[in-house]
Symmetry: C2
Subunit: 420 residues, 2 copies
Amino acid sequence: MKLEVNKRSNHVILASHTSLKHSDALPIQWGAKDPMVRGPVIASLTNSKARNAIGTHSGSYAVYRALSIASGKFSPTHIPDLHNTQSPIQLGPYPQWADAKKMVSIDPWGLDPQINFKPLFEKGYDIRPSIAVTQAHLQIPEIHQAIEAGRLKIDGNIVKENKDVKITKVALEPVWYLPGIAQRLGVDEGDLRRTLFQETGGMYAELITRPDLKVWLPPIGSTTVYIFGNPLDLAKPEIELTCRVHDKCNGSDVFGSDICTCRPYLMYGIEDAARTAQRNGVGIIAYYRKEGRALGEVTKFLVYNARKRQVGGDTAATYFRRTECVAGVEDARFQELMPDILHFFGIQKIHNLHSMSNMKYDAIVGSGIDVINRISIPEGLIPQDAQVEMEAKKAAGYLNIDEKKKTVEDLKQVKGRKIE
Amino acid sequence: MKLEVNKRSNHVILASHTSLKHSDALPIQWGAKDPMVRGPVIASLTNSKARNAIGTHSGSYAVYRALSIASGKFSPTHIPDLHNTQSPIQLGPYPQWADAKKMVSIDPWGLDPQINFKPLFEKGYDIRPSIAVTQAHLQIPEIHQAIEAGRLKIDGNIVKENKDVKITKVALEPVWYLPGIAQRLGVDEGDLRRTLFQETGGMYAELITRPDLKVWLPPIGSTTVYIFGNPLDLAKPEIELTCRVHDKCNGSDVFGSDICTCRPYLMYGIEDAARTAQRNGVGIIAYYRKEGRALGEVTKFLVYNARKRQVGGDTAATYFRRTECVAGVEDARFQELMPDILHFFGIQKIHNLHSMSNMKYDAIVGSGIDVINRISIPEGLIPQDAQVEMEAKKAAGYLNIDEKKKTVEDLKQVKGRKIE
């Protein structure tokens, strides 16, 4: 991409042609089995001639990196020392890694590129990881409670004597293969790119000017995965697998807000994942950064206010409508992209899926993964003010073990707390 | 901004001149006291002629909004129905709102624009909130434990009979006044804009082509503030104020990872904020989206691995160096921008600051807010594997109530767990 600045007129032309593509830039063949044939995703900025993707690493944190450079705190030519950063376990490659359609929102070869693209590192290419794996011990009050209540045992391996839970955790940053995203959504790639550019107010001109660059690293949040038991067992369909897919809700996950069931459901998923690992199965929790159904917290709080002030109070009957009035859409989470994370681990079958969401279920099963049992949140874990959320979701088609379907009049009776 | 697409050659020119600025676009006079003189920030996309800022709303979630439009699920012409979404309390305006230097990373007039810019709404301008205020009740296990241990009482108001904690919460999305950001960092505005553009791989050409547009809504995370007691008391220096400023750490805040002190410190801050409100003071917790010192989780996990594998083990002596080797910088959080959030609430004095960070303290005091007491995390709350973090920070100049300064040899003895 060529940037000319004409200081006299303050007029800048951004021009980028496919013919200007440099010979240093390596082609990417999405879905190729051999990583060296697939090619590395190079979104680093130390050598613009080698770039073969739009955007850069670390999602939203790219902005803070740029700020660091602007302030002089950070050298723009710094190349990471990846010595000793590699994963403690050898994940993959799985057949899904060689299927261009299975993963379009992450790059499986973004894990330990210093190993998989070693010859290119030796040639001086600046290739950055977009996936990292490490280990941890978790100290969670709800898990301590589950142990004290006898629901979870101390086994000395998964659950330690001091009640810590041993896990492996994986961070995955977004790498979007645009033709694949377009196909997943059932739209034309050119229309997708044009809309992404225009409807973000002009983010990344290369979405338009470089149709040859098929990969974009968007400035959105990463996904974190917590694994209980042997991560390599995730790919074995004969081993019992318990899974919760969770979209973050800061107000509940961190601060325990009683208007929703998010943290209780997450904690129950963790408990069950640990139990499954203790009986030689494997557990996985996938935590996505899609706050407020991917509408963000400002919209979320505006909707809460509108719900609590409406005539008739905050009822299950109007739960989704209030989001739609403020935001224009009920849900922007794109569960269609969610199963990519599961495919990265080679998952073929989920024995116990902790989710009430028909959208999540459909996306998982539609992507080719079998689901045996669907687990709802136990009634006793639902906070009082979250009954509105629960009843509204059940009425909208979310999983409802309770067979008797409620009427609109019933739903009007399920009321939340007012503004104080 | 004019976008021409020449389909035949696939060549696109993005040209934007200040002379093309439309008469519908209202000027912004940052720091003006009267909101109608200050002007609304218009980053919505339903009428491009009225735009007076770069980027668009909801931070990173702008990408999901664009995806929703591309997929046909969302109408690009939808205008939010803001009926009944207004704040339950009347915050501000405070003198700090009329000081162009006090807030450069948020827009105080982003709260309830439908009230403050009513005449413009009536003229058809599409102005969106960037701040929202609502209420909640929190159910937190550590708070229940504090009550059971007698450290926190049930008073029926702040802490309810059922141990819920009543709070007001505020979501603030980023709105950057670029000349102010430049000045805060001590750099030239043109250099800042050029670096932001280039070092994000070309995000938002208007950073270069529209030097007349001084406001940018970057695609980063929002900030959430939790208030215990009367939010209007925050602006009264004679009322005791307890404050924790917290940079998010998903691994600890949600999942309880024992390698760091984040959640324990946050919970202790919440406990103390509630106690302060009970004795007629006010408490505030400000939660920033700066994961892994604003380097992101992939870098964070890579650093964990390098720390745990190094010769000599994971010690306090090498804690910061490992981040620097991988990331190139120890810390990209820019605490210089953090006090803006405090100024929004009119804060002049903090009686109890829950933070050990010299960077946070310096930023707060440097911005003109007095700090009386600095509160460290109690020893008993520090997880075992987090001793490495604690000792490293104390040695680096973080607040250390322990007067005897440790030597490098001492720091090598503080060791963390290895990779299993």
